[in-house]
């Protein structure tokens, strides 16, 4: 198994092979299917954007590769998309970010059983060993990285509130890792609610937390969209100087705040939707240049601070 370690490395590999393959243009053509969830919040919006961008770029770079991109609002549609790709588009490989990995495992296994290359992105299937390549963000890592920051920023402990995402496994992985990370500290979690990675819910829940607790030292919003709602609630209540808040994902607007040295949003934790582009790049390399790319690629959730924020600023994303 090939264990590549960071995004930077993957990008390096990708670009070098891109050059190589342009030289050795092959006669054989390949079709790669790309299946991602419909943009239902900012992060999946970013996924769709980066997937589309990668497909456009690679179509130009490799004349012998063509792509089929499909977005699905739910597992039923996503499973149907896979069947269509096999039956009518005759794909050779599949890159998929399963909306609900447990529900999609059987469908993806069928693709694999049909002898196709399978790259799974972000969410682990319920049965190991199906995919050829697994590219993922580090969900427990996001929790741990955040917990480390909270520990360092609140050395003497403090009161915090947590706004979770939606009740699906990756949310649990993040929250469990975070809780484990702050376990033996003086940091006290006053309350936890689901904010569904959504601005309105973040705003609403933060307002109620502010009503409920007179003293909060910090907020973990887990997601940058939720964080936007939290910040608005703080501002309106006039309590923006009482506490700081941390989101997650690396949304453009938040990266800019971190870069400018905001006291309210001192850091962010990366969980970038462009991991889907990395996955498509690597899969393209497999077909275009017959590169050895199978295995597992975990993209670290890095702490973004004022100092390294510039690296995470992708100015043209809508995300």
């Amino acid at each position: 198994m090939n264990l590549l370690k960071t995004t930077a490395l993957a990008a390096l590999v990708a670009s070098s092979f891109a050059l190589a393959s342009a030289a050795i243009a092959q006669d054989k053509t390949y079709v790669i299917g790309v299946s991602v969830p419909t943009a239902d919040h900012g992060w999946t919006g970013g996924v769709d954007f980066f997937a589309q961008q990668a497909v456009d770029r690679l179509t130009k770079a490799y004349p012998n590769l063509s792509f089929v991109l499909a977005t699905a609002p739910d597992s039923t549609k996503q499973a149907a998309d896979l069947e269509d790709m096999i039956a009518t588009r005759n794909i050779d490989g599949l890159v998929i970010l399963p909306g609900d990995p447990d529900a999609m495992t059987a469908s993806i296994k069928k693709v694999k059983d049909a002898g196709k290359w399978v790259t799974v992105v972000d969410r682990a299937l319920s049965q190991p060993g199906i995919e050829d390549l697994y590219v993922a963000g580090d969900n427990p890592g996001l929790g741990t990285t955040t917990a480390d920051y909270f520990k360092s920023a609140l050395p003497n402990g403090g009161n915090i509130v947590v706004l979770r995402g939606a009740p699906i496994p990756i949310d649990a992985q993040r929250v469990d890792a975070f809780m484990a990370g702050i376990k033996d500290t003086q940091i006290k979690v006053l309350d936890t609610q689901f904010a569904n990675w959504n601005r309105d819910d973040g705003y609403k829940i933060m307002q109620d937390f502010l009503t409920k607790y007179p003293k909060i030292d910090a907020v973990w919003a887990q997601d940058d969209d939720t964080l936007v709602g939290v910040l608005k609630a703080l501002k309106e209540a006039g309590r923006e100087n009482e506490m700081w808040a941390v989101g997650g994902a690396g949304m453009n607007q938040i990266i800019k705040m971190v870069a400018s040295g905001s006291a309210q949003v001192p850091v962010d934790v990366s969980y970038n939707p462009n991991m889907v582009a990395t996955a498509i790049d690597l899969t393209a390399l497999h077909f275009a240049a017959n590169a050895q790319v199978d295995g597992k690629l975990i993209i670290n959730s890095t702490l973004i601070t004022k100092d390294n924020a510039a690296q995470f600023d992708y100015p043209n994303t809508p995300f």
């Binding site: 419909t38 943009a39 239902d40 919040h41 900012g42 999946t44 919006g45 970013g46 769709d48 954007f49 589309q52 979770r164 009740p167 309350d191 936890t192 609610q193 689901f194 990675w197 959504n198 601005r199 309105d200 705003y203 609403k204 829940i205 307002q207 109620d208 937390f209 009503t211 409920k212 969209d225 936007v228 709602g229 608005k232 501002k235 309106e236 209540a237 949304m251 607007q253 994303t317 809508p318 995300f319």
Partner: protein
């Protein structure tokens, strides 16, 4: 021959009538008591203002839905329409900033555009229902998808952000106060009062309950059924536009997750308030109470620490069902 119409009513009947009127108010009162028992900060002015201000978006939309539902129609597209209008407003304001600056002119342009787009979108729904003779459920289910896709497309899958200076100008419309009352609450109250009067005291209001009660009777009674129907959808669209006008300054942004499922919240509020889903009877103040009840439930769940957050939706669902169940048993006793 004797004239037998008496103005006095038997007491059993009047008691039933009072229950019918008081039902939603009693539910509201019970939730207020529950909330104040759970948390000392619940009854503070700040918390109450938060709740009503939050309720104002869906509230304004639900007032439009009360008109549509009373006339026997349905509009499922309101949530995605709100997101679409918010997106359009941001695009229009941003693109007008270079020529008009970032002052109130540009914001006023955005507001007018928002209201106009809302009315037009509503008219499109209404025309498909009336002239196109398609079931409102189907028409608005279709436009729900269309508007949601359009906002995703306009935002390129991500988030549309309002020009920063323009957002500063615009911001008081959401976060401002008049005599300590948040601006959205004032707009909500004004809309509610006007709507209540329109529903109760104008020919339009009377005509729509007639149509909802029995479309044939309305047609045979010289009512221009299609025109009234169309107007309810235009009005609904206009009010969705108004909700978007208040929403845009909240975050200065819109994306594909904006206003998701608002249509269901709005319909739930309308039904909790005592309006009949099959049409023929509607009351605006009931809808206002209904929407506040919905926000109260969310607020109380956040303020307590007994119920697991995993069960929040179950709790909300149960309260909605109980509220409607109370009405149902009231009707069958009649």
């Amino acid at each position: 021959m004797t004239t037998a119409v008496k103005e006095s009513a038997p007491s059993a009947k009047s008691r039933r009538l009072q229950m019918n009127v008081l039902g939603p108010l009693i539910a509201l009162l019970l939730l207020l008591i529950l909330g104040s028992l759970l948390n000392g900060n619940f009854l503070t002015y700040g918390n109450m203002a938060n709740i009503v201000a939050r309720a104002s978006f869906i509230g304004i939309i639900a007032i439009g839905a009360t008109f549509v539902i009373t006339s026997g129609g349905l509009d499922l597209s309101v949530g995605s329409m709100a997101a679409f209008i918010a997106g359009m407003m941001i695009i229009i304001i941003n693109s007008a900033v270079p020529s008009l600056g970032t002052g109130w002119t540009v914001v006023a342009l955005g507001i007018i555009a928002g209201l106009a787009i809302g009315a037009l979108a509503g008219a499109a729904n209404g025309l498909l229902v009336t002239a196109g003779r398609i079931e409102p459920f189907i028409v608005t289910l279709g436009s729900l998808g269309i508007f949601r896709a359009l906002i995703t497309f306009l935002a390129n899958g991500g988030t549309l952000n309002l020009n920063f200076q323009a957002a500063d100008t615009y911001s008081p419309l959401y976060s401002g106060n008049v005599f300590g009352i948040p601006a959205p609450i004032i707009v909500f109250a004004v809309v509610a009062i006007i709507a209540e009067v329109v529903m109760r005291r104008t020919t339009f209001g009377r005509h729509l309950s007639a149509i909802g009660s029995n479309e044939q009777v309305a047609r045979y009674s010289a009512i221009k059924v299609d025109r009234v129907r169309l107007m309810t959808y235009v009005l609904q669209g206009f009010l969705v536009g108004m909700a978007a006008v208040l929403y845009v300054p909240k975050f200065g942004s819109a994306n594909s997750s904006t206003a998701v499922l608002w249509e269901l919240q709005a319909i739930a509020a309308v039904i909790i308030g005592g309006t009949m889903l099959r049409g023929g009877f509607g009351r605006i103040w009931g809808t206002v109470v209904g929407v506040i009840i919905l926000e109260l439930i969310g607020n109380i769940l956040n303020l307590q620490s007994f119920i697991s957050p995993y069960l929040n939706q179950a709790f909300q669902g149960a309260i909605i069902i109980v509220a409607v169940l109370l009405q149902r048993s009231r009707r069958t006793t009649n």
